[in-house]
Each structure stands twice: as structure tokens, then as C-alpha cells.
Symmetry: C2
Subunit: 340 residues, 2 copies
């Protein structure tokens, strides 16, 4: 055939070539039982010959299920998020779902606009964070979303599923460890308390102080630090104070390198002049000299749990009550803290 076939081959072309009805081809494609063996084989051969590729768009159109899920997180170049997302993607893919990913930059308008995009694309489910758990627009958009939502490390919206880490317990462990070494001026560097992780870290930090009967110095609690530039600056400021902290708990997901740089810049030595606990274990923490004591939880498992939870919810609908998984956090003690 000299004629160049521009048009992509459809189920109708297959039907014509195999001399059957379109319905029959569809049944072959979907492994429906009531197709006789010779017909099935003829159709399958034709599919291969013509190089037919099923059109998922048309399929979704008819079935009103897209087999797509979306994930919106703050920034996926944060290593801790990356391993989380990777595990989720793998779980979705092996369940036959395609995975859409977007960064929100922790901005409300981006979150809302992504949610709208996902709605228009008719994804079957969404995994996401929220910049502010108390924002009414965000809460409304999420609780009234057209598709199931699983929240990541957010707990305030009670009516949807969520997966989180037990940051409060982690923060308490870290702080009590430092207190038990005799530290009394422990700086806490966290992100935005409008979101669960930072809020609960502050709680854990405060609880630990209360348990030790020690007053928290509010000047030592520095929040809204979302980048290493911010933690660098803040650490430098803290180290410049007259009564500088003897320990720093850098509680964010990806905010250890800032303090390390600041300490180095100030000409101090970690584990000698100042103690540090990292909020999130990493190669950087483990391989630093000295290795940094840090909190740890299983990020892959978190991603897997979230994905499975969403898949469950997609299958079973909204009848069952919202589920909540909270993963344990543990302290890995290394050499970055010295007793006072």
C-alpha cells in the first residue's frame, strides 16, 4: 500500500481487518470470556499486524475512570520527599495506575489550582500536602474534592485519609536526649506551624521541657524556616547572640546543611562547641564529621502506605470511615552531641 497511513489505527480498523464487529474486538481486548478461540486469535493477530494501540482517552471517556492518580507535594527535589514519592509511584504503577506529579512550592494558590487541574483531568485520586491546614479555602477544596484524597503529613482535616510520621514523639525524643545530656539552651529550627510537622515538633519540644521541669525560652524557637538559606541565616544569628544555644535541633526535612554551614562559618566545631540533632536522617548526616545524631522513619513505607490507602479508597468509595496511619520515628544517636 503506497498510501501513507497518517491516521492512528482504531478498534474499528481492527474490526474491519479481522472481519468482526467492534464489540468483539473490545471483548478480546478486555479478556471477556465469551469470545470463541479462533475469533480471539484472529483478532489478536490483526492487532499485532496493524500495530493497534488502545486509546486510553476514549477508554476513560466511556468508563469515567482514568486510572490516573496525582501527587502534589511541596518540592520534590527534597530527598526525603523523593524516596517517598518513588515508593508511591511504584505502588501505583504495579496497580496499573499512571502517576502525575507536581510541586506546590508550599503556596496556597498553586495547591488550589493543581486541585482544579486534577479535577478537570478526572484523576481517580490525589495524594497531597497543604501549606496551611487551617485555611478555609484549602480545607473546603479538599473535603469537597470530586475524588478521594490522601493527605501526607497533615492531620487537622479529620474527614479524609492521611499518612504521617509521629513528629511529636520524634521531637520529644530528640529534645529529651539533649536535655538529658545537660543542655538547657536548645534552639529549635522548624518550618511553618500552620502545618502538622512543625506544629507537632514544637509540641514535642515543649513537652520534653515540661517533663524536665524546664522553662522554654521562646527566643530559641525559630519557625517558618523552609530552606537551608533560612536555617543558615537563623543559625548564624543565634550563634551571634550573647547567650548562644549549646545545642541546635534542626527539625526540618531538608534543613541540616544550613546550620552545618553556619557553624563552620562561625569557626565552631560540631560535637565540641555545639551539639546538633538533625530532624531527618540522610547521607549528609551519616557521613558528616562527626556523624550527626538524627531522627529517622521509613519514607518508602510511608509512600507505599499512602498509595495503598488511596487505591483502597478508590476501590471502595467513601463509605468506610477515614483512616489514619502514623509511622514511628526513632532517634539514631551518633557523635554530634556532647554532654554539658
Amino acid at each position: 500500500m503506497g498510501k501513507a497511513t497518517k491516521r492512528t489505527v482504531t478498534i474499528r480498523d481492527v474490526a474491519a481487518a479481522a472481519d468482526v464487529a467492534v464489540g468483539t474486538v473490545s471483548r478480546v481486548l478486555n479478556d471477556h470470556h465469551s469470545v470463541t478461540k479462533p475469533v480471539r486469535e484472529r483478532v489478536q493477530k490483526t492487532i499485532l499486524t496493524l500495530g493497534y494501540q488502545r486509546n486510553a482517552i476514549a477508554q476513560s471517556m466511556r468508563s469515567s475512570r482514568t486510572k490516573m492518580v496525582a501527587c502534589a507535594i511541596r518540592d520534590f527535589d527534597i530527598p526525603a520527599f523523593a524516596s517517598y514519592v518513588k515508593a508511591a509511584e511504584a505502588t501505583f504503577r504495579s496497580a496499573g495506575y499512571t502517576f502525575i506529579l507536581a510541586s506546590t512550592a508550599n503556596a496556597k494558590d498553586v495547591e488550589l489550582s493543581l486541585l482544579q487541574t486534577f479535577t478537570q483531568r478526572r484523576v481517580d485520586g490525589v495524594m497531597m500536602t497543604m501549606s496551611d491546614e487551617t485555611d478555609p479555602d484549602l480545607v473546603y477544596a479538599i473535603t469537597n474534592a470530586a475524588m478521594p484524597v490522601v493527605l501526607i503529613d497533615r492531620e487537622l482535616v479529620q474527614s479524609v485519609d492521611s499518612v504521617s510520621a509521629d513528629h511529636r514523639s520524634g521531637a520529644r525524643q530528640a529534645t529529651e536526649y539533649l536535655l538529658s545530656l545537660g543542655h538547657r539552651r536548645i534552639a529549635l529550627l522548624v518550618g511553618d506551624p500552620k502545618a502538622y510537622p512543625s506544629r507537632s515538633r514544637i509540641e514535642g519540644y515543649t513537652e520534653a521541657h515540661r517533663a524536665f521541669g524546664i522553662q522554654v525560652d521562646p527566643h530559641l524557637v525559630r519557625d517558618r524556616l523552609l530552606s537551608n538559606e533560612a536555617t543558615f541565616r537563623e543559625t548564624a544569628a543565634l550563634l551571634g547572640r550573647s547567650e548562644r544555644p549549646t545545642a541546635i535541633y534542626a527539625a526540618g526535612l531538608d534543613t541540616l546543611s544550613g546550620p552545618l554551614r553556619a557553624v563552620r562559618t562561625a569557626g565552631l566545631v560540631v560535637g565540641k562547641d555545639i551539639s546538633i540533632v538533625g530532624g531527618n536522617d540522610s547521607d549528609l548526616a551519616e557521613l558528616n564529621t562527626p556523624p550527626i545524631t538524627a531522627l529517622r522513619w521509613d519514607r518508602s513505607e510511608m509512600g507505599r502506605h499512602a498509595a495503598e490507602m488511596l487505591l483502597d479508597r478508590i476501590d471502595q468509595g467513601s463509605q468506610s470511615p477515614p483512616r489514619r496511619i502514623r509511622l514511628p520515628v526513632s532517634l539514631v544517636v551518633r557523635g554530634s552531641c556532647r554532654p554539658i
Copy 2:
């Protein structure tokens, strides 16, 4: 409103409520000029009242353009990839495209199956790597794909667009730097030479030796090392040899921590007993004690370039010849290498 709205609202519902034809609603949605102002406003108000959300599936069905692009890379929890992917996603999103992401685990069958999935989903374009640039199945699948493809850090398939870093130049700089310090036994740790990065790093390494008139010891070139477990093992083995290397060039994207661990385990000190150059700059390299000399290129720019290239290709079709961008790589000298 007590009535539970089961069915999602369609363009037809809007048309009925606003008392116009469906075509008119469509033209309002698409900002077509020939809609009179009062009608336009009436329709827009109705859209808001009913909470109508355009169905992207139906839209794609009719227009046969999905406004979706897909990206398949080895493993997106490798930080270097993550920043690359993040920049690409941002570029696509601001162009109105939705971003599908998947890990290939560097496995041929996964790559092929993802390519098929993307075809069936009728994505408008694909950004990807290949585990083996010489594999005929992969080459065939990519060159005959139904949609434009931009290759990432792959150069053998000439007929498609690609964006890569100049790893050969990088490797040559790293190796010449070590040679100029007097090192003569330089171990090279790379990934799989079936892909461009490792292949060209071996070339650069070899070229540098030739330029210095020095014979390459094939025992010192260790390839197919794709993880830090592998580079740890290999480094440990090299350090255990009678004539151990005086320098290690850990050329992979995410293979610095393995050698660092191995050196530490062997009781040696980086920058004193052994010199190390990292193939890819990172926090780990910068904050190590001593800081590690490493290669660097702009990963965000790489992602942006790749995305823009793909968008161009989607717009203009395949008439223009394949483009090729190769980003410069530079050596950041720090304190991990000592002269012999």
C-alpha cells in the same frame, strides 16, 4: 441544598441552565470572539453557579491532544535527577501541560512498557533516558514512537532531540587535575558504559591519561556501579589490593557516599591517605570534612532546556532537524585531593 448531586455537571447542563446551545458554552469556555457580551456573562455566571468543571478527557478525545507529557528516568530519588525533573515539571506546568513521572530502574522491559503506556495515554511528548543506547528494541521503540521524544543524557540515537551534559570534558578535567597533582594510580568508578554518561567519562579519563603519556591500568576502571552499595564494595576491594590507588574518581551521579564510607571503614583519611573527586556536586560533597572536589553542571537548566525543547517539538512537529544541547561541566576544587 439537600439534594445530593450525583452526576457531574456537563456542558449540556450549563447550556440548559443558561438557555443557550452547547456550542455556545463551548465557545465561551474557549474564549471564542463571536459570543455577545450578555450571553457570555450569563454563561459564565451559570458555570460558577453550577460548579461546572471542564472535562479534560472529553476535550482530549475530540482534539486528540492531551496536554500531558511524560518523563521516565532511572530513579527519581537520586537528588541530581530530582532537581532536573523539578525544573522540567515547572516549565511544563506553566505551559499548561500536566506531567507524568515514572522510574525505570534502568531496566529495558520497564522502559518499553512505559513507552507503551505513554502511547496508549496519547501523551503529547516524552522525556526519557535509556538503559542501553545500542539495544535495537529500545532504539526502534524510541525512533518510531507516536509522539516526540527528548532524550536525557543520551546521544547515540541521532534522529531525536537530546539534552546532555559534557561528561567527557568533565571526566577529562577531573582526571587531568589528579594527574597534575602527581597521581598515577587513579581508580575510575562509573556506571554502565552502554549509556552515554559512563561511556564518555571513560573516554575523558582515557584521553587525560593519553595527554599525560600515561598508560591506563584497566584494573582501575570499574564499571557497572549504579548504587552506593556497589561503589562501597568496589572501593573496599580496591583499597585492599597490594598496589592500592592513590586517588578515586567516583564519577557516578549518586555514588559518592559509598567510597566515603569505604575509606572511613578502611581507617583511611580523605585528602591525606587518599584523594577523591566526586562526579556530581552535592551537599554531601560540599559539607564533608574535608570538602570534596567535584564536577558540576546546571541541572535545573538541563531540565528547563529539555522541557522547552519538547514543547517546541510538540508545536512544530517533526519537520525541523533533531536538536542537541550539551551543557558545560566544570570542576569545583576543594580540599579532598593532595599532591603526591
